[in-house]
Structures are given as structure tokens and as C-alpha cells.
């Protein structure tokens, strides 16, 4: 309970997390401006209310002093003042919003695909990862879409949020100011695993991003196929639906399936071998294993051939 009351944080104030993107500070300015106006009016209203309740409380035998029942000047005053204030609020919100939504031309491009319930970030060199890695101090543009239902990408520290809508692209951008690791949430309700659809943004120190990207992309060169396969199943979001310890999730566990015979909803059966796994990944709807829903997205065009081979070796290794 010691953490019940947290006082002002070092940056960002009490209400908001520390602002770590180039536009976050502006958003916070709007927030605190509105907070100021709102607090002023709230305090004014409540103070007057309490004052009146005390001053004019009913006393037996004393009639209300009374006052006029309308006063146009007064009415107009308390119409105009809020009008002016909300125009300012709108204007501040509007200009900052244009900054948030208009990405600079030389931004670093990353593609994002959302699916139930994982994120896939693809980098210009073809590398994919379930976490978002970006260089510090450089604008990054995300071009996003969804494989199934609507998701939404939210990075509180950067004050950005944008939906991932199936059947179209949406974009957002940010310019991280500090290296570090930040939270990334899905904020559009997307079903069972909505609250698990979490990831991280890793903002690399100057120069480190490129090294990371090169190494990460070269998975197959730097690792054994089994290791690479394990890493690939993690990065491509397989593990949100498949476990490696034998428990069934949305899909069957990978553990021990290699070599088993499985029956399918269409009545046929087959042994789990290289071809079957390849087919499961590329055309998941072709054969649906009994007891499961046809819920798996296709990875056609998203996984290279050697990568699939590595995954097969990895699954084979899970005895």
C-alpha cells in the first residue's frame, strides 16, 4: 500500500508519464492548459455552491431574500468566457494534432501488422520482430494494418495511438528523444487476448540500432536452425497461440507433435511431417485439426523458405 499515493514524478507531472517523444511535450502542454481551466471552473463552482448552501441555508420562519430571476448581461458573460476558452483549447489541440499526424518526410519506415494477439514489426531489410526497435533521435513512421479485427497501437510515453484496421493502411509516427525501453499496448478491444497484446519499444542508443538490425536479421547465419526456429516462432507471434510445453492454447502445442498422426475436421488424417507443417504454415485453412478452430492466419509471403525449414527443425526438436 505504500505506493497508493505517488506524488509528482520527476518529469511529466503527476498525471502523465514522462514525455519521451518530440511531440509529447506539446500534448502535455495542452493537457495542463485544459486541466488549469477545468480546475479553475470546478473550484469556482464548488466554492460558490458551498458558500450559497451555508449563507442561504433555510431557517424556520425566514423567507428567501430573493434576487432577480434573469439577467441577460450575466448570461452573456458566462457564455462568452467559456467560448473564448474552448476556442483556445481547440486551437492548441488542433495544431499539436497536426504535428502528431503529419510525419516528416525522412522518417524511418517500419511496417506493423496486428493480429490476434500479437504484433509483427517488419523492418526495411525484411527482418520481422515482435518488438518495436527504433533508433533514438530520428523520426520513425509506422505503416500499419491488421490481419483480422481492429487493433490499436498505443505508446503512452510517446503520446501516440492509432488503430490498425483490416483492409487498409493507417500511419502514425514519433520521434523518440531518449534511449530506453517503453511500453506498447493494444487499445482497441480485440477479443480474448486483448489485454495480452502487449509489446515493448526499444529505443537504441545512437549507432546501436543498425548493428542490432543487422545481427537480428541474420538469424539463420548466426544460429543453429533449431535456435533460429525457436526465435522465429517467438518473433512471428506463433507462441501466442501455440505453447511449447504441451498445453493447448488457441492452437495445439508444438511439443511432441512431430511424427504424430492427426485427424482433421474433414475426416482425413495425416502424419505430422515436414510437408504437413509447411502446409500448416502456408495454408492453415486447408486442414483443420480436430478439436480446434480455423483461427490461424496464413504466413504465406511473410516467412522465407529457409525460415520455415528452421521452424520445422525446431518443432521436430520439441520432443
Amino acid at each position: 500500500m505504500h505506493d497508493l499515493i505517488l506524488f509528482a514524478q520527476s518529469r511529466g507531472g503527476y498525471w502523465l508519464p514522462p514525455p519521451d517523444s518530440s511531440t509529447a511535450g506539446d500534448v502535455d502542454r495542452v493537457f495542463y492548459f485544459i486541466l488549469g481551466v477545468a480546475s479553475f471552473f470546478f473550484v469556482l463552482i464548488v466554492a460558490l455552491m458551498c458558500l450559497f448552501v451555508i449563507l442561504y441555508r433555510r431557517r424556520p420562519g425566514v423567507e428567501a431574500p430573493g434576487s432577480a430571476s434573469h439577467n441577460n448581461l450575466l448570461e452573456i458573460t458566462w457564455t462568452i468566457i467559456p467560448v473564448i476558452l474552448v476556442v483556445i483549447m481547440f486551437y492548441m489541440g488542433f495544431t499539436t494534432y497536426l504535428d502528431i499526424r503529419t510525419s516528416p518526410r525522412q522518417a524511418y519506415d517500419i511496417r506493423v501488422v496486428g493480429q490476434k494477439w500479437s504484433w509483427v514489426f517488419s523492418y526495411p531489410n525484411g527482418h520481422v520482430a515482435p518488438e518495436l526497435h527504433v533508433p533514438v533521435d530520428r523520426p520513425v513512421r509506422l505503416t500499419m494494418t491488421s490481419e483480422d479485427v481492429i487493433h490499436s497501437l498505443f505508446i503512452p510515453a510517446f503520446r501516440v495511438k492509432m488503430d490498425l484496421v483490416p483492409g487498409r493502411y493507417t500511419t502514425t509516427w514519433f520521434h523518440p528523444l531518449r534511449a530506453g525501453t517503453y511500453d506498447l499496448y493494444c487499445t482497441e478491444y480485440c477479443g480474448t487476448g486483448h489485454s495480452d497484446m502487449l509489446s515493448k519499444v526499444v529505443v537504441h542508443k545512437p549507432g546501436e540500432f543498425e548493428t542490432w538490425l543487422e545481427q537480428a536479421a541474420n538469424l539463420l547465419a548466426s544460429m543453429t536452425p533449431v535456435e533460429a526456429g525457436a526465435e522465429l516462432t517467438r518473433r512471428n507471434g506463433c507462441l501466442t497461440c501455440h505453447s511449447t510445453d504441451g498445453t493447448a492454447k488457441v492452437g495445439p502445442s508444438f511439443k511432441g507433435i512431430y511424427g504424430q498422426r492427426h485427424t482433421f475436421t474433414n475426416g482425413t488424417s495425416a502424419e505430422v511431417d515436414d510437408n504437413y507443417i509447411r502446409q500448416s504454415i502456408l495454408e492453415p485453412m486447408a486442414l483443420i485439426r480436430q478439436g480446434y478452430q480455423p483461427a490461424m492466419p496464413t504466413y504465406k509471403g511473410r516467412l522465407k523458405d529457409q525460415e520455415i525449414t528452421a521452424i520445422i527443425e525446431y518443432i521436430e526438436s520439441l520432443k
Binding site: T145, G167, R168, Y169, T170
Partner: protein
């Protein structure tokens, strides 16, 4: 308009007054409207035989609107009805226009995001 202070308070008054209400449409007006509507229907079909792009849609909708106006004003007696009922009708159109306007403005603006997606997926 809906002020009832002038309403009769006794049964006899009420009965007497009840004799006269509601506008009775002369038959020739009804028939004339019918005729006009049929002519306009023919006209709107005929208008598609000629290529007046980009005006075809406007012409079709224009004719439809004239027809609708005739139905509303004469078949539905709105011309002789309480002005408030006319206001109700116009309000419906106004709010429909607002809805349509909002949705159209936005979808037209973001259409490129859908197109580029479809192109990239060769759909």
C-alpha cells in the same frame, strides 16, 4: 399553432367544430399529379438514353425530387397541412443530409489508404 386556448369546451361546440377539419383534395388535382408522375417516370428513363455525363445523376435525382415533392405536397396534403408537420419532414431530410455529409467527407478523404492497401495486396 397548437395553442388550445380557443378550443371549444362544450360538447355541442366540439361536435360542430368537428365537422370541418382535414383538407379534401379535389379529384382533378390527384389525377393531375398522377399524370405528371407517370410522365416524369418516363422522362427519367428516357434521360438515361442520352449521355450527359456528368449530369446524368443530377438529372435523375432532380426528377426524383420533383416527383417526391408532388407526392408529399398533394398526395400527402403537406401543402395544406400544419406547418409544423412540414418542419418535421424537412428536419428528417436535414439530419439525413448531415449524416450523409459527415460520413461521405470522411470516407472520401481516407479512400487512398484503402486503395494503396488493395494494390499492395493485389486484391
Amino acid at each position: 399553432m397548437t395553442d388550445h386556448s380557443t378550443h371549444p369546451v362544450t360538447t355541442e361546440d366540439a361536435a360542430r367544430e368537428a365537422e370541418h377539419y382535414g383538407h379534401i383534395m379535389p379529384l382533378w388535382v390527384l389525377a393531375g399529379v398522377l399524370l405528371t408522375l407517370v410522365v416524369l417516370t418516363v422522362a427519367t428513363v428516357a434521360a438515361t438514353w442520352v449521355d450527359l455525363e456528368p449530369w446524368n445523376l443530377a438529372i435523375a435525382l432532380g426528377i426524383a425530387t420533383v416527383k417526391a415533392a408532388l407526392v408529399v405536397l398533394y398526395f400527402m396534403h403537406l401543402r395544406y397541412d400544419h406547418p409544423f408537420n412540414a418542419l418535421v419532414f424537412v428536419t428528417a431530410l436535414l439530419f439525413l443530409a448531415m449524416f450523409l455529409g459527415g460520413a461521405l467527407t470522411d470516407t472520401i478523404q481516407y479512400q487512398p489508404d484503402i486503395e494503396s492497401y488493395r494494390e499492395s495486396r493485389q486484391m
